[in-house]
């Protein structure tokens, strides 16, 4: 309901948000586009470079690997954290006593940072003294399996380590949304299912998952966007993995930026932006569509 007609006042109220968005989001984004088309000499002098960075990136095997690795990394952590999140949420949803305590215990990773996650996981799985690494070695050796649990030398283990740590951190966020969606399911549906004798697996796959699918779609996109840049501290902790096997885009950009290769770093930033921008547009479109159905 519109109450105030003074447009200048309205614009003034919007001004702080607009100025910050313009100065620290759109302006640097625009400058990134411009910088992606220059080459720097000695880190200072800028020379026009046309589209050369982009053509170089398009044909660079290392960069193609980096983009591919980013997608694989995102897919693994999003699928993993959503599945575990769904499993925990379902259990908490079904339990009738102590629900709040269980919920809090399931979402605490939301408050943790990726930097803390990277740090504690690195210590716990440390190749020399890590307690979890010891436990894994004892467990696997009992089955006669020889595996090197060293994320500094074994690329496969580095991948499992980095995706696992990221997944762990992302579970809390997923449970918050999934629990909210599950609590929205009318009790009459559970009643009907119970009377019809529907089994657990059918109940979850045929009733619950379809009913919370808008939330799952939202989470799939937001998690994917996040997976492209938030796990940076985890990757940095293991220095991009053995022989750069975990050199995902965000880490690649950071390394290029750190080496003061400004033009190339900007071009790589734009590739990341294109991916995140498309996903965000998809998310806005989705939330817009669902808002017309059941939204408040």
């Amino acid at each position: 309901m519109q109450v105030y007609r003074n447009r200048i006042q309205g614009v003034l109220l919007l001004l702080p948000t607009l100025v910050v968005s313009l100065a620290f989001f759109y302006w640097p984004a625009w400058k990134t586009i411009r910088l992606s088309r220059v080459r720097t000499i000695g880190g200072v002098q800028k020379i026009p470079n046309g589209w050369d960075h982009f053509t170089a990136l398009a044909t660079s095997g290392a960069f193609q690997y980096s983009v591919l690795a980013s997608f694989v990394f995102a897919f693994v952590v999003v699928a993993g954290s959503m599945l575990i999140g769904l499993y925990l949420s379902y259990l908490i949803y079904r339990v009738s006593a102590g629900q709040t305590i269980y919920l809090v215990a399931a979402i605490f990773t939301y408050a943790l940072s990726f930097a803390v996650t990277a740090n504690i996981m690195d210590v716990l799985f440390n190749p020399n003294v890590g307690l979890f690494k010891e436990a894994l070695m004892i467990a696997t050796q009992a089955f006669g399996i020889q595996f090197t649990f060293d994320h500094t030398t074994n690329p496969l283990w580095a991948w499992i380590f980095a995706t696992g740590a990221t997944m762990w951190k992302m579970i809390g966020y997923n449970v918050i949304f999934m629990m909210a969606a599950l609590s929205g399911i009318p009790e009459s549906i559970n009643e009907t299912a119970r009377l019809d004798g529907v089994g657990t697996v059918r109940l979850v796959t045929r009733v619950y998952i379809p009913m919370i699918s808008p939330t799952l779609a939202f989470l799939a996109i937001v998690n994917t966007v996040n997976a492209f840049f938030l796990p940076f501290p985890v990757i940095q902790e293991i220095s991009g993995g053995p022989s750069n096997t975990l050199n995902i885009l965000i880490y690649d950009i950071w390394m290029t930026y750190n080496n003061s290769v400004i033009g190339l770093a900007s071009a790589k930033s734009l590739v990341l932006f294109t991916i995140i921008g498309l996903l965000t547009a998809g998310q806005l479109y989705l939330s817009d569509r669902f808002a017309h159905y059941g939204g408040t």
Binding site: M1, P16, T17, T32, L88, A115, N126, V129, W168
Partner: protein, 292 residues
């Protein structure tokens, strides 16, 4: 007498409650066991972190880890006062508070304008604000440092917090919430000729308390957990924040002081964790509003 009676009935009702809870617990023993088991596994890294933070720093090896050590106090003392964590803690606190207050405050003004003012191109303005979501720090990393230098904001609290003030999520959620406030409420304010800021302070904010608490918590945790941005613009140790300080505690070569690192991790994770527990309900309500 009366109060004693009251206490007795209260106790009686508590007894009924606990027996009811016990009964319900007994109904799903398998489910409770599965849940407790799963959640202990989930919490294990944090439990181990807390335990390790009490261990003597140089002696730690896998065999001595699983227990409370003797160096709890000295590890925390050392990390706080010798490894500079006391300073980082204060800086993190100021940064997270400023980001949370700034984000929510500015978003309140923007939502007020978007809902209660007759403005042209509203949808376009909203899209303009929303699309900042697609521009996280890594996408802007190269020019952002230059902008900070030209503003003379590198190594400063202003540089740490102001770029975070725009909050698409807060604007969107507050706008949605304001729109759900009944027209009659707004109508009476209009008839009384209440100015916009008074309307915000005396009508809108009291009616949005839970959401403001939730948005504040989200923004505080988000701000507290920032890593890449402080890493880029702060290189003066007296201005540094916990997240970066913690990463610097972890040496790439040489003997690592495991107990100290874990004590540092506990200090770094404690405040957002406590805040989340304290403001759990508004936080959960607000976070889950995002899909609606």
């Amino acid at each position: 007498m009366a109060s004693e009676q009251g206490q007795t009935t209260q106790r009686a009702s508590q007894m009924i409650d606990t027996t009811a809870i016990k009964q319900r617990l007994r109904q799903q023993p398998g489910l409770h066991l599965t849940l407790i088991g799963s959640l202990v596994v989930l919490a294990l890294p944090v439990i181990m972190t807390v335990l390790m933070s009490t261990q003597p720093s140089t002696q730690i090896s896998s065999s001595t880890l699983a227990g409370i050590g003797s160096e709890g106090l000295s590890n925390y003392q050392e990390v706080l006062f010798e490894a500079n964590f006391a300073t980082y803690l204060v800086n993190s606190l100021i940064m997270a508070l400023a980001i949370a207050v700034g984000k929510v405050g500015i978003a309140l003004l923007a939502a007020l304008a978007l809902v209660y003012y007759d403005l042209p191109f509203k949808r376009l303005i909203l899209l303009f604000i929303l699309f900042t979501l697609a521009l996280p720090v890594p996408v802007r990393i190269v020019p952002m440092y230059e902008i900070m230098v030209s503003l003379d904001w590198e190594n400063s609290m202003l540089g740490l917090v102001v770029p975070y003030f725009a909050s698409a999520t807060s604007v969107l959620l507050l706008r949605q919430h304001f729109r759900s406030i009944s027209d009659s409420m707004v109508e009476s304010a209009k008839l009384d000729g209440v100015g916009p800021l008074k309307f915000l302070v005396y009508v809108l904010i009291p009616m949005s308390r839970s959401m403001i608490a939730g948005l504040f918590t989200i923004a505080f945790i988000w701000g507290w957990n920032q890593y890449l941005w402080p890493l880029i613009i702060i290189n003066d140790q007296s201005k540094q924040v916990l997240q970066v300080g913690l990463a610097q505690l972890n040496p790439t070569a040489g003997e690592a002081l495991w107990g100290l690192i874990m004590a540092g991790a506990v200090i770094t994770l404690l405040i957002p964790m406590v805040l989340m527990l304290a403001l759990r309900e508004p936080l959960l309500d607000t976070v889950s509003m995002q899909t609606k």
